[in-house]
Subunit: 555 residues, 2 copies
């Protein structure tokens, strides 16, 4: 069987970049991008990316270099998803909600050579560069001027002189016949995404060309995306590369409706104007869309909405479904490159009542077809937990879309990808007898009280059931006797008569086992949040710690 | 960047076998297979495959062994597509139309250890085994009894004693908790398919788990197969593994409608009875379906039909489209594991007239998204030909679904997969300025007359345009002066007044350049065909050669 070794003909590197030149032929005349008054076709997008890549290369960028982008969901942001890796470089999209200090940390940590900056964020990025140590090498800055819109926020004291390059100039002067740089190995790095939510050292998730190829086709099949979808970019592309749909749209000849910022009336306007068929976003986006009472917001044709990050609340789900959205619920994270578990819907569930349907849909579900294995294990022993819907354990995965590792962080990498060949998610969940996964908490958010595991999400779900509660989060409060006890932080809805601590405790006692009931309740006007809108449990944990051990009289 | 090496978490082998256990969870209650009065769900199919694989392993089968199957499109045939590779063995499905002599050659060449035989073919296989040399080891035989149907053809003199195992017994006694054998490398061989059409040494195409994974998801996306399709098995599964849809149906929770033989009324009955949504087949299948005049055969809902092997003739295309079939045209071959080029349809083409639409659809098209590169090159120099729709060259491809090579045939492998990393298809084609590929001929069927390349398909298309012609094939006739000349073989339609040689020549002169016009016309009652219904050009070429060089008076 000597002749049956892999050859260059069949082991040529998998990469989603091949989708673009194909799109130029198969979908050449179909709109690739619509953004206000600008429309491009796939043949134009291919040509522009070729030209842009050629110009990026001529700035000295090549294999293994990091190129950063600070931009909203504009055509430039989309084009850079192809043009940067087409030079062999690594695409690093940065959360636009970060402040100059954090952007500076990331640009330095990534050793970015070139930074593309939308004009809205030029002041922020210049401030970030000013924070570089004097001896360090600053990256080259390219301004994305975006003449479609005028930006109110002025670049303050900084001048555009810091920008030595202009985006449209780079596109214009590039070579449309550029021979793009194919990866030498499909495991060559292609993207670098910093995950948010921590104030500790930056975690830069690196994915390979193979990983992005696999997550892209995985997600198209899992969501049953047909040819020529019209995709509205409500999900920021810097969030785990838009869950891979930036490349996915090229594979199926979709039309990308670009969007500078999320705005409910404009979203409904865009859906109508462009006959949008698909969109993605966190449940908070669904929540905002659900609050519309305008009769013009009832959808003429169904819009497929893929949500993840947290299960959509039942009430929200029912409201948006009645407006005409078809909601799919998936589970993913940056280390997996996108959605790797999804709540595959069973036809027999259609016959259930709305509450029951919403409960089933709130489960994360089944691994998607690009994932090789999924399990829930005891973190210490690595043994699978019982599939009884009750025994919690850590969710672990393996599959082609798992990250290569964290950028310049071997210790962090080997903590996440263990030597047994599993990626440990840090999420705690259960598997039901029917094989469906449900996430119960972040591992670090689990409260261990008197030897019992309390999943913070379960307590929070109960608290959210109280009509006076606007926001709720529970964390561990250190306790000499119990080890930890449950400490709840609440903000209340305006206009609702205030709750008191004992009301909350009473409310929970009726709905939860005793050990899960909060022993402490702290009221706040607003809970502290990260730049992406997640409640900062780290900060709450600090507050809970500062309360000290609970005095024994309170028990 | 030391930490950014691939790990077991992300480089675990790609294999379509993971689709099955997922289907048991995500689609557990959905019908997987319907065959006459038998229906299985995905949870049952998973269990049956587990049990079957466990029993196959207990017969001593493991990694690298070949297991053959001689069966029509029954549930057993489907299950073996999973169960055999789940033991680490290589699945070898054999064309049921082959005679005992050829089956014997293949079983010996593949060194098959175990052969599953449908009762319809038991006599054939026993005859095949009897042809083994006396000293050689015979494979173990398993009878697939299929109690659903009674088979008229008796097993003649042979007895069922030759069959030491029975299919349903193996399923029944197997372990449903079997730990299936995962490939050690994704490049481990998974399938072995002998290509038909040649009388020379057998060509056994070997594909890896990676290759089958890639072609499967590639084909689902290219054909936009949604969740829960109802797939009617008109295409034999032994044809390039049913173009990958055997595994594809598990990925999307489809229902496989199994079919012992192709029969037009039964196909229309099945479409109605099961609300079929998808089917595949050669143009001859479309042709047979198109001849139906029964008003009950008009489809209630569209049926997506994927065809390949040859472009569907315009008249056939128009007829089946009017019945309600939505036809897609692809190009593939066993060495590429399935459809790797397809005629991506452009919305603007909808406005063209029927003839023009059919002409565009008859082009093979654009590489599918799993293919890395496609080109048409000069076979000698390897240089790309002009993309002018006129300059012919050999079609070459590279991509993850290309075969590992031919079984025990290093010379054949390196003739097909050249050291430059391209797979040479042996097909001659052109690329149009819009980037679409059109196949013009098999390389070996091109006639070189006076230094000009004559593509046999172009001449045949003109001959088919003559209403008296039933079948037409042209091959080279050796010629002292021109090197080769065009020699046409024709069979005529019954009832049509006979053509004469000069009529044919006259007809072609009006429609073709002089050098392409047949210099010789041979009339036959039927043209010789292979077991799969292809016209045997090898035999025709022998006849043409026996005519000798054309005497100069005939010019």
């Amino acid at each position: 069987m000597d002749q049956l070794k892999p050859s260059l003909a069949n082991s040529c590197p998998l990469t989603p970049l091949t989708f673009l030149e194909r799109a130029a032929i198969a979908y050449g005349e179909i709109p690739s991008i619509i953004y206000n008054a600008t429309t491009y076709t796939w043949s134009q997008t291919h040509r522009r990316c070729q030209q842009l890549a050629s110009s990026i290369q001529s700035l000295g960028i090549g294999r293994g270099h990091v190129v950063s982008v600070v931009a909203p969901n504009t055509p430039a942001m989309y084009e850079l998803h192809f043009a940067v890796p087409m030079t062999g470089a690594i695409l690093n999209t940065i959360n636009t909600r970060l402040d100059a200090r954090m952007i500076s940390v990331l640009l330095q940590h990534s050793e970015s050579k070139l930074v593309f900056v939308d004009k809205q964020f030029q002041s922020n990025v210049i401030q970030a560069i000013k924070r570089f140590p004097p001896e360090s090498q600053s990256p080259t800055l390219v301004l994305i001027a975006d003449n479609e819109v005028s930006i109110s926020s002025n670049p303050s004291s900084s001048t555009t002189l810091d920008f030595t390059q202009n985006y449209e100039d780079l596109v214009e002067k590039g070579d449309p016949e550029f021979k793009w740089v194919r990866p030498e190995s499909e495991q060559d790095p292609m993207t670098l995404n910093y995950t948010s939510g921590t104030t500790s050292s930056p975690k830069g998730v690196v994915h390979s060309h193979r990983s992005i190829f696999i997550i892209t086709i995985n997600s198209l099949i899992d969501w049953s995306v047909p040819k020529h979808p019209v995709y509205l970019w409500t999900l920021p592309m810097f969030h785990s590369n838009g869950w891979s749909f930036s490349w996915g749209m090229a594979a199926v000849g979709g039309t990308n409706i670009c969007l500078r910022k999320f705005d409910v009336p404009f979203v409904y306007h865009s859906i109508r104007a462009h006959s949008v068929t698909h969109m993605c976003g966190a449940p908070v986006i669904l929540n905002m869309l659900s609050k519309s009472n305008s009769p013009t917001h009832r959808l003429k044709t169904p819009v497929h909405f893929l949500t993840g990050g947290a299960p959509p609340p039942t009430a929200v789900l029912l409201r948006v479904e009645s407006l005409g959205f078809v909601v799919s619920h998936g589970y993913g994270f940056t280390e997996a490159a996108g959605v790797v578990v999804s709540c595959a819907w069973k036809p027999s569930w259609d016959r259930l009542n709305a509450e029951e349907r919403a409960r089933l849909k709130s489960r994360q579900g089944v691994r998607t077809i690009g994932v090789t294995e999924l399990d829930v294990v005891d973190t210490e022993s690595g043994k699978s937990v019982n599939r009884d819907g009750a025994t919690v354990g850590e969710v672990v995965l393996r599959g082609g879309s798992m990250m290569l590792g964290y950028w310049k962080d071997p210790a962090g990498t080997s903590e996440c990808i263990k030597s047994n060949g599993w990626l440990y998610t840090g999420d705690v969940g259960v598997i039901y007898p029917d094989g469906y996964l449900e996430i119960r908490d972040r591992l670090k958010d689990v409260i261990v009280s008197g030897g019992e595991n309390v999943c913070s999400l379960e307590v929070e779900r109960v608290l959210h059931g109280n009509e006076a509660v606007e926001e709720a989060a529970v964390v561990a409060r250190p306790d000499e006797f119990w080890g930890e006890t449950v400490c709840a932080f609440l903000s209340l809805k305006g206009g609702v008569p205030g709750l008191e601590e004992r009301d909350v405790v009473e409310f929970c006692r009726e709905r939860l086992p005793h050990y899960m009931v909060p022993k402490t309740v702290v009221f706040m006007d607003d809970l502290p949040k990260t730049s992406t809108g997640k409640i900062q449990k780290v900060a709450l944990r600090e507050i809970a710690k500062s309360l000290g051990s609970l005095p024994s009289r309170a028990r």
